[in-house]
Amino acid sequence: MKRIFVILSFLILLFYIWQIWKDYNRPYLVYQKEFKELLKQKGGGEAELDDVKFVVRQRWLEKLNRVDRCETCHLGVEDPRFVDAPQPYTTHPDADKHSFERFGCTVCHGGQGLATSVEDAHGPTEDWYKAISSDNFLENSCSKCHGDFIEQEAPVLAKGRTMFKEYGCRGCHNVQGLERVKVAPPLVKIGEKVKIDWLYRWLQNPQMYLPETKMPNFQLTKEEAADMTRFLIPRVRIKDPDNFEGGSYARGKRILSESRCVTCHSFEGKGGDIGPDLAKVSSKVYPEWLFEWIKNPQAMRPDTLMPAYGFSDQDIRDLVAFIVEEYIDLELEDDVIQQNIQFVESANVGRGKELIEKYGCTGCHEIEGVEDRGEIGLDLTAIGDSHISRMDFGMIEVSHEERTVPNWLYNKMKNPRLFKAGLKMPDFTFSDLEAEALTTYLMSRSKEVVPASYHLHLGERPSDYNPQGEFGEILDNYRCLVCHTINGRGGDLAPDISIEGSRVKEKWLKDFMKTPYAIRPILVERMPRLKISDSEVETLYSYFRTTLVDDRVEKLTGSVKEMSLKDPEVISLGKDLYYNKYACNACHQVNLKGGTIGPDLTSVGERLRTEWIVYYLSDPKAFLKRSIEPVYDFTEKELEALTAFLLSAKEKK
């Protein structure tokens, strides 16, 4: 009995000694000692070395309700001398923008700020599922303070956000605060538009016909695709191709190239990516439909990006004739088409409808005769907050450290039916980077709220600029905003025309709209030749002059009048400045001589208003922040001389 007493009491005593030893040898002390050594090597002073205390160092962020003890080990984050030091001592790259005192660490990086051991802090662990964000998904935290529209600072997040919208994710997944928009074409009269065998092939594998399409692959069986096709096109329209009154092939070819369709559409791999690739279009659509579409695309689909060119009927007939003849799928054989049509005809309409309802096609398409069941997918409003236990890894073995919500989401993006066969989510064939961007965006969907004092919205919210009246109609009709931007709304393919009224001359604009050309020598010609009337151009210009002007430019009118721009002495001074002092010809061309970065300046006097030239020379960045132009500090005299030279440049030919 006594022996047991002795042994037990000694065991317990040893246990306590072990505990005390453990408590005084916390894992972080190793790092703190190493840091002190490193500091000595970096030339830290006596007082500085004394300041390195072997304790838990924490930042208490009362407003964020967080406690971060990361700096217990990451001791050099604020010290610029540790830039080259190994982790965990490295200097934090942008300590200036986000002070640790205010933000701490975990609000951006995730992880367990309270922990002081490596595994616990970085996670994931049993009792802290939110592991530190890997660099791939780090930008998901930016939106907490900076909002959703951070193009510059968080490109990955912004890309994810755009993708989420464009791929129509909202059609199947609810996200509070986002509107459910049907992003894909309506299928109401699809039988009038596309050929039945094309639809059958398309449903089986959309990427086969159009590799860049946003339509996902639902991995349907042949029977399923046939059933769905049968439902969408109940009556097979056998039409004689000769029924359509054709036009001239040669003339159609010329119109196609003159109108610069290639700016938006690509043909056999060459061309823009705004519209679909048209290389095989005649194996897809009926010529009658194509005729109606080119005549007025906006009547058939109000949200299309295609401008109404204003072609005459004969022009369109020629165009269609050329397209039907030229852009045909050569690999497709006639008997295969017939086989496909027969196969579809024998399919089951009822099953097709069921499948369409099951896969939630109505999330993106308008479909007649099918009930829209709303969002059939998971609610993603707060997907970033999900606990890992909610994520079903199915039968796949994933080690504990790799079991994180972002990793799950990433794999779901890459291969939606990885975790379980027979799931409904289709395969979008995302690349690695795309999957990362979407995962980053999804991880940013969180219910965590930071105090209002932390909010700093970066980037520009989409502008709601929407002009009415005659000008608005022209803008809408020709879809100018697909390429041009006005007051923050529009595309970035072509120049921003927010202050075009202060910039260009009326005569030049009229000529340009008739026969557009490329102002920058390096660019291919892209502005389409629209059938725009003179009166419409006048409307445009009068709107430009009244509304789209900049006071800073208009104010210069007085001083421009005082300039002696015709004085040959001034001009020759300007020439000297242009060629010798500032070497503008390094980037700009005059009379076909000079660099090709900036616009051709030969006839700049005809194109631009003199005020604009003066204004632009004095500060190029004021108009276009993204401009690659260096900023000089010209004197008044130099401004005058350069302007005078530019205005005279053409006459000197």
């Binding site: 006594k2 007493f5 005593l13 306590y16 304790v55 610029p80």
Partner: protein, 153 residues
């Protein structure tokens, strides 16, 4: 017999020694447990940005409740908590002194009470320049008026 007896006693003593040792250890550990290692309080020493951020004259930092005095590249930091009832004194540049709006305490430009109910002068805090070129204030170290941090412009 006697040695057997001794051995047993020895074992008992040994057992009791271990038991009491454990109890002692627990007591000491519990006492240590009561001494907090981390505090949920605003830190007493902190960085306040670069010296260039503070123009000539007296600058007030509302977050930290301190004044940063820049006198031609000579930096000093003084508390902005009135020693009377804890209001924030205002710097009156024309009169070259602090005046507390609550009960009218007046401190001269050295922080010394020259009027009103305040019992003690405003304390000057130690300020140093860190390796990352930022000012570092330590409220735990109160320094005499004469101590300044001189930074070459």
């Amino acid at each position: 017999m006697s040695s057997e007896h001794d051995r047993r006693d020895f074992l008992t003593y040994l057992g009791w020694f271990a038991t009491l040792g454990t109890f002692g250890g627990i007591s000491v550990a519990s006492a240590r447990y009561m001494v907090p290692n981390i505090l949920y309080e605003p830190p007493k020493s902190y960085k306040i940005g670069k010296p260039q951020d503070y123009p000539e004259g007296v600058n007030f930092l509302p977050d930290k409740r301190i004044f940063v005095v820049n006198n031609g590249g000579n930096y000093k930091v003084i508390s902005a908590v009135c020693t009377h009832m804890g209001c924030t004194p205002r710097w009156i540049a024309e009169k070259d002194r602090w005046e507390c709006p609550c009960h009218g305490s007046i401190f001269n430009n050295k922080g010394v009470v020259i009027g009103g109910p305040a019992p003690k002068p405003l304390p000057w805090y130690e300020v140093t320049l860190g390796s990352d070129n930022k000012l570092f204030v330590n409220e735990d170290r109160i320094v005499p008026f004469s101590q300044v941090l001189t930074i070459a412009a």
